[in-house]
Symmetry: C2
Subunit: 348 residues, 2 copies
DNA sequence: CTGTTAGCGCTTTCAG
DNA sequence: CTGAAAGCGCTAACAG
């Protein structure tokens, strides 16, 4: 029914082994033979059987990319960059790798499930993106899984995610702590002393680091923190909207709101506007990530730009062995403070 | 080295076949035996070899989702919905399917490449999302490829994409034409007579249908079209920004701008603001899709809401055979006009 | 309900 | 440079 390597061999009048060799291009084959085989492949419209090939060779051309939320451009941008490096410079389907993105939805169980599925497929590489869940048992489970993947020859790269203990996974992280600190310092420099903070989900490394940066800035300027000023939520606009309402219910005198990321900040802006507060005259707002829509918000959003594309591209290259790992297996990229219209001097 | 099914069988004191049966759960096995096997699996930390399994069974548990732009929430939202249906109701890793999203970047070649890669993997199903490129040779190539996939037992579903000729692929489409028409009629009803249109890339079905709807509305109200009023671009904000500048350079008297989608509309808003035009007092703006950020724009965006999540979920279920295909293999979902702050009565 | 027996389609030594 | 042969690890009849 379906055409196999043997069919191609028969038509090209060579042995199956030879066909395999020209297809994989990893072995010397006479030019005329190669050509004959290639023509047979075309004539028969032959497509390699991936599973059979993977079974025999004990590796596959699958590369998995795990993201927490595929509907969030933060991950989309990284995934896109990773994928384009992995898939190589275009070219014929022969040399391609199947870069696939898996959406964990931020769930530890699904993360583990996907890792198992990829392990099952004998994936060539796996790239995990974004913040990790900090729950100790889960962390241990992930590390164990990664170790097993590595033992099986799968290359593991972490992108925008802290290193995994006891593995040799390469980690490309973002300096969320430093970025958070710089952002809050900017606000403090403007004169703000009463700052609300909308944090991401608890037990997320990204959440913790950004919050730590914020607190470091506060502490560095002798500003005592009021526990009412911090609220946890999800990384979406809805969460920002609700958290902002809550923040001002608790303390109407806040002059600034720092959000866990840009989506949250956008939600915060909506809530402020609806409650009749002007931005930045009454309240300043700051986000994080500098996603594409942030510059178009009105007023445009003060935020911290993260090199999402660059990090993704690098992670992709490392995963493919086309770039050397950074010294120590870990590299940290700094964010860049983008001061825009949403932050200003507080009303006096 | 790596533990195989035979190892598990030995430890559980059963035959390999029995182990396979409990793992696949598609065959009666005595409860006590099953338990013994499961324990052995745990003890040995056994992970099924996907390729071997796929080879023997002649199918895999891979499900491919093709998107034009993974960094665009339009696709992210659909992909997320598809993926959650495909991955089933959580549960143990045993029954899972590996739903993976492949980013074509809108390139016909990459689309074909991914299809081949998926064919190679003997994917269980493939879902293609979003508008198709209308170039005839490419269309034919895609159809041929889809036919081949179907012959090999891969279920093909189209989501937000017109039917593929000569295939039995199920198509869940959006009524882009109707939505576009309704949107422009809304503007006309408000009193607009000079409307600029920022279309998506040429040769894209989505682009063509939305534009046709726009033109139908114009024609239906006896408004003659000026060729200067239409500009083509990409589906991103940058494109909307530039196109808007171009539109007003050509005809400064326009009172409304209709954009190919929300991202484009946001870019249009930015351009209008920077050129000193107020929205909607001076110029009304309308988008398409109703992505999450659209309601937060200032003013909030008048647009057409598409049931992205619902369509994705349905496509996922159909792909998994958990829902019957619509009669005739094709179903069309209507968009819903969302009238918001960015559209108003034109200045007189 | 369970074991035996053949392959699935490809890669890879090992000889020519 | 090319062919022959031996599996890779699992599933699926087919008998018990």
């Amino acid at each position: 029914m379906t055409v196999t390597l043997a069919d191609v061999a028969a038509r090209a009048q060579v042995s199956p082994a030879t066909v395999s060799r020209v297809l994989n291009g990893n072995y010397p084959v006479a030019a005329t033979t190669r050509e004959r085989v290639l023509r047979a492949v075309d004539d028969l419209d032959y497509v390699l059987n991936g599973p059979a090939s993977a079974l025999a060779a004990a590796t596959s051309d699958l590369v998995g990319i795990l993201v927490n939320d595929i509907a969030d451009p933060f991950f989309g941008i990284m995934a896109s960059a990773i994928q384009s490096e992995v898939s190589g410079p275009g070219g014929r389907a022969g040399g391609e790798r199947l870069a696939v993105v898996c959406n964990t939805g931020g769930s530890p169980e699904r993360e583990l499930t996907y890792l198992t599925l990829l392990q099952r497929q004998r994936a060539a590489a796996v790239v995990l993106t974004g913040g990790a869940v900090e729950n100790p048992p889960h962390l241990a489970a992930v590390s164990a899984k990664l170790r097993r993947l590595e033992e099986a020859g799968t290359k593991v790269v972490l992108c925008g995610r802290p290193p995994a203990p006891d593995t040799s996974a390469i980690a490309l992280t973002f300096d969320n702590r430093g970025g958070g600190q710089e952002l809050t310092e900017h606000l403090i420099g403007l004169g703000h002393r009463r700052l609300g903070y909308i944090a991401g989900p608890e037990e997320r490394t990204t959440t913790r680091h950004r919050l730590e940066g914020h607190r470091a800035a506060l502490a560095g300027h002798g500003i005592a923190e009021d526990p009412r000023w911090t609220v946890h939520g999800r990384y979406d606009r809805r969460s920002g909207y609700e958290a902002t309402l809550e923040l001002f219910r608790r303390d109407p005198s806040l002059t600034a709101v720092v959000a866990a990321n840009d989506s949250v900040a956008i939600g915060a802006c909506a809530a402020l506007r609806e409650s009749g507060r002007r931005i930045p005259e009454d309240v300043s707002v700051a986000g994080f990530d500098d996603l594409p829509f942030s510059v178009d918000a009105v007023p445009s959003l003060t935020t911290v730009r993260l090199p999402l594309s660059e990090a993704g591209a690098r992670a992709g290259r490392i995963a493919m062995g086309r770039e050397e790992a950074p010294p120590g297996g870990i590299a940290t990229a700094r964010g860049e403070l983008m001061v825009r219209g949403s932050s200003g001097v507080p009303r006096s």
